[in-house]
Amino acid sequence: MNLQAVRAIYVFEMARTFRTLLQSIVSPVLSTSLYFVVFGAAIGSRIDEVEGVSYGAFIVPGLMMLSVLQQSVSNAAFGIYFPKFIGTIYELLSAPASFIEITAGYVLAAATKSLMIGLIILATSFAFVDISVQHPLWMLAFLVLTCLSFSLFGFIIGIWAQNFEQLQLVPLLIVTPLVFLGGSFYSISMLPPAWQTVTLFNPVVYLVSGFRWSFFGASDVPVVWSLLAIALFTALCVGVIAWIFRTGYRIRK
């Protein structure tokens, strides 16, 4: 194992994060505050409670997931796309490092950044709503696993993308709708039965549900399903990345 390579990539990528710290943090904090104002205060004041929780508090896990998923995908995608775009990928390809080490370096760095943002959003939400976390360790576990699995997904997007438009495409056209339709701002039990069934095909439902359970002790789907969904998604992403490095898809001629 070339652990020095993992460390080198991680340190290099985190340096990029800290170089752009202000914009990395200000934007999620600002958008979260806007969601609280619009959904929590304006609309939420007309909704009493959802599953025994005030609406303002109910949307916190969903809001965290929204940002964490978007950030994980775009951080990891950008992380590997940028060397491809500017040509510095030659160094990664000529290094004595396997795909596991290269992926680990980029994915861990992207996941760290989105974890930080997730926790900052949680901290921000304390300023707006009264909220407590019932299972803090599970909350952290769900958060970390989500950051990792979606950073893996983002890594794939970054390798697949051939221009900046494609880089934006998947987070914008797939991830955001899946999160919005994944019960971030409502309980899926509030949907008509037919839509509830459709929703069960949305993987984000399992993430949000499990995550919300760690906060309030209630979930849309059993917690085990949520864990299984993350495990399955992670395994799928790892498989695709292994295939990419074996075949050199879009990176090695």
Binding site: I9, T88, S94, A95, P96, K253
Partner: protein, 308 residues
């Protein structure tokens, strides 16, 4: 000298069907400077990229330090430093951090003393905290070299290191290459500049259309280059070298001419003697031309022959 890089029957055909390397075999000796000359699209960069792991070989075998570049890629790649042709650097990072990054990527632990030594050697120490984007083109090229040297390679590939570089920097670069050679590093450089190959290489390889046309010691090539030919056209063409002129290095040329080969660097070229011998033999001169084969001629001829 033992071979440090051994390339056997290497071919590379790209997905488009373009065959960039056609069964290339080349052995590179430990500690030498090998210059690869070739026109654009000859396969120089593909050859380097394949040895370094950026491009996959279609067939053939390459070993570096005895390690197969596919089966034992970690050991092979650890020995290699690569300076690419294009300036490709993370623009917003500081110089010293990009160099540290390369060292770590190649599996070595942090060593600030070594990084400092490399940066000083390349006159980059004053710029260590500058962002890459703030540097001039020449300085960026030095950063690329510093990155390649950060992990103490035994074999250094320099792909067109002085393309678009001013004279001063080019001389600097040659000095760095000489220093590295003194440290025992094997250097393979590709270049368009024939003078560059002449100035620093031990051996010169010529590559065109994916084939190695020639690999020869520079001294032997230069010897060929130092030779000059005098074409002597006589009033009445001859069928054979006339009697009495056997002592001279004379050959029969086209259309009954005589061709005299001599060394321009010798004390005596023998031209005066030949001319008086010619008139002594009763031969009348009609015209005389001289021509010199430079490395460039050799190169152009080889490439042309190959194209025919």
């Amino acid at each position: 000298m033992p071979d440090i890089v051994s390339i056997t029957d290497l071919t590379k055909t790209y997905g488009s069907g373009f065959q960039a390397l056609k069964s290339v075999s080349l052995d590179i000796r430990a500690g030498e400077i090998l210059a690869l000359l070739g026109p654009n699209g000859a396969g120089k960069t593909t050859l380097i990229s394949t040895v370094c792991g950026i491009t996959r070989p279609t067939s053939g075998r390459v070993t570096v330090g005895g390690h197969d570049i596919l089966d034992d890629y970690r050991a092979a790649r650890r020995l290699i430093g690569l300076v690419p042709q294009e300036i490709t650097l993370e623009p917003f990072e500081r110089v010293i951090n990009t160099v540290r990054f390369s060292r770590g990527l190649f599996g070595l632990g942090p060593d600030d003393a070594h990084v400092e030594r490399v940066l000083r050697q390349l006159s980059l120490w004053d710029k260590k905290d500058s962002k890459v984007v703030e540097l001039s083109g020449g300085m960026k090229r030095r950063v690329l070299i510093a990155k390649a040297l950060s992990h103490e390679p035994r074999v250094l590939f320099l792909d067109e290191p002085t393309a678009g570089v001013d004279v001063e920097l080019r001389k600097d670069m040659w000095r760095v290459v000489a220093d590295l050679k003194a440290d025992g590093v094997t250097i393979i450089l590709t270049t368009h500049y024939i003078e560059e190959a002449e100035a620093i290489a031990d051996r010169i390889g010529i590559i065109a259309k994916g084939e190695i046309l020639l690999v020869e010691d520079k001294a032997a090539l230069l010897k060929r280059m130092g030779q000059k030919q005098m074409v002597i056209e006589l009033q009445s063409p001859v069928n054979a070298v006339p009697d009495g002129l056997g002592d001279f290095d004379l050959d029969l040329g086209p259309e009954g001419t005589l061709v005299y080969t001599y060394d321009t660097r010798a004390n005596r070229t023998g031209i005066t003697k030949l001319l008086s011998a010619l008139s002594g033999a009763g031969l009348t001169l009609r015209d005389v031309q001289t021509r010199q084969s430079s490395l460039e001629d050799i190169f152009v001829n080889l490439v042309k022959e190959d194209a025919a």
